[in-house]
Symmetry: C2
Subunit: 353 residues, 2 copies
Amino acid sequence: MSGHKIATAEASPNIALIKYWGKRDDKLFLPLNGSLSVTLDAPIKTRTTVLFSEQLKKDEFWLNGRRQTEEESADVVRVLNLLRSDESRSRALVVSFNSFPSSAGLASSASGIAALTLGGAHALNLKLDPQALSIIARQGSGSACRSIMGGFVEWTKGAHQDGRDSYAVQIEPHTFWPEIRILIAIVTSQKKEVSSRVGQTRTVKTSSLFLQRLKEVDKHLSAVKELIARKDTENLFLEVMRESNNLHAVMMDSWPPFFYLNDVSRNIIRAVMEFNSGSIKAAYTFDAGPNAFIITTDDCANELKNQISRISGVEEVLESKVGEGPKILQDDSSHLIDVNAMIPVSLSPKQAM
Amino acid sequence: MSGHKIATAEASPNIALIKYWGKRDDKLFLPLNGSLSVTLDAPIKTRTTVLFSEQLKKDEFWLNGRRQTEEESADVVRVLNLLRSDESRSRALVVSFNSFPSSAGLASSASGIAALTLGGAHALNLKLDPQALSIIARQGSGSACRSIMGGFVEWTKGAHQDGRDSYAVQIEPHTFWPEIRILIAIVTSQKKEVSSRVGQTRTVKTSSLFLQRLKEVDKHLSAVKELIARKDTENLFLEVMRESNNLHAVMMDSWPPFFYLNDVSRNIIRAVMEFNSGSIKAAYTFDAGPNAFIITTDDCANELKNQISRISGVEEVLESKVGEGPKILQDDSSHLIDVNAMIPVSLSPKQAM
């Protein structure tokens, strides 16, 4: 490890039950409200290798086998700069792969930035606690701060202007509620909607309904925490669905309006409502895209998965448990070979170093 | 007229620029906020003949050639009861035809109830002013009170518990702004959503965002009135689109949620936004269905109509000017023959009388 500082980390995306939408500080990614998520299980993950080397002239970021432009690398470089101390000015080569299709609408920036933060800190041999790691990841991409932990995770919005108290904390580990399942319904989409960053700013600036949302969202976050602690599926799932509706309502109230849900998304909502007609056994939730995330329990997962799979326009349904959280891959020699293999062959030695 | 009290009236639907959504009194149809509409032009209308006769045992209501059930006739009977004085207990035969397809998503209850109120009052020789007629129509179907007048119409919410000050007033006649055009884009829909009456109650009971809407909607109504007076199309059209988005946002925030807009509706929104990319020249607005109502001016109507017609899923685009308001058809003998011809032939004399 001493000659070339290298480490590989894995992290999974997280699904927000109470959403992060709207910043009070654009540069520090300080949110206007607290949020709460569940981290996905390891099969759905981003693996990121970070190599710091004096031989690199500038930071390089490869994602899913493709070298990223300077603009596409901006979040990664920001995290690297936060990790690098003044004396260590080494540039980094970051090689990242997602195990899930990009069409899954999963926040690959969350898992990617979390894996980068953890891998980078490990490569530089920094002794950072999860709170410090979360604060760094937050500045790469807001919701990435929640992927630093497994299980059920709360991102406390904090009050300080410098962001020192705006980080994620694990409220329950993945072992707390092993029956929980998360279905990811991948939906065909032709329309390219606005990015979540652009959308957030637009909502904050233009939606008056957003003011009402802000007044109440922290109350709902407290409720969701209590319902998780009590494992009260019925009321938890109700809160989760209403939160998703509330978020997509303020998006529609923004100007210009934007719509992430399409007719397939709405047919999934209807199917979940139908499935819940006796009692609430599952919850849908949507982020900045048409794909549905459905929270349910193991005894309902198969039936629901079958029903959702049959909906026209649903391409695939992935399934996940609650994840354990990110990890550092052991840096034995076999691993190092793996890492080298991840550097695309088209890259000449000069470019790579 | 003396032997059998009969009259025929015509009224047109209205398109709300500021929407009526939410009642403070379900029985009297008293709204939680004021609303403002434009009445459509006469080719798009309901023609209703009302005949009061001692020979009828009960009220009968025929709509578009089909005898309506007791439940389907409830609104009509309520209006008839408000029109009938204590001494005149005659039952009525009401025969009503819409000139527009029911798929147009136009509030046929608004035009139908307005025509019924006017025709019924005329048949009974009641001397009622527009305000009194509007109060009666309101109790048949809320927004019908606005179809009692042509041009631009405001429904003042009123403050009294008995509804005496909740009626429509004409703020500008149809001659005020002859350049205005209303396009009606008919959209295919497979899904049957909740009725607007059920939806309204649901929103009032469950949506917290609706509270924020209520705080601001009267301010927007005042703004829209001013913008109409100034003929400020750009700002008027912006207000109209944002009001529609705001309404559909609170519908989504209701529980259970309901969605009137589908992917075709959203493609129409995108087309209007595109059309407006230089400056705002048109406004979309949606009621309790996927069909779009597009307000624009005569110089833009053709181009916009062509563009909207080309959107996949748009079946037809109707066009209307601002309407003059309802009228009573002259009760000459030829008219009386027409009326009799409107009674379906399958109806035996006994049933008809």
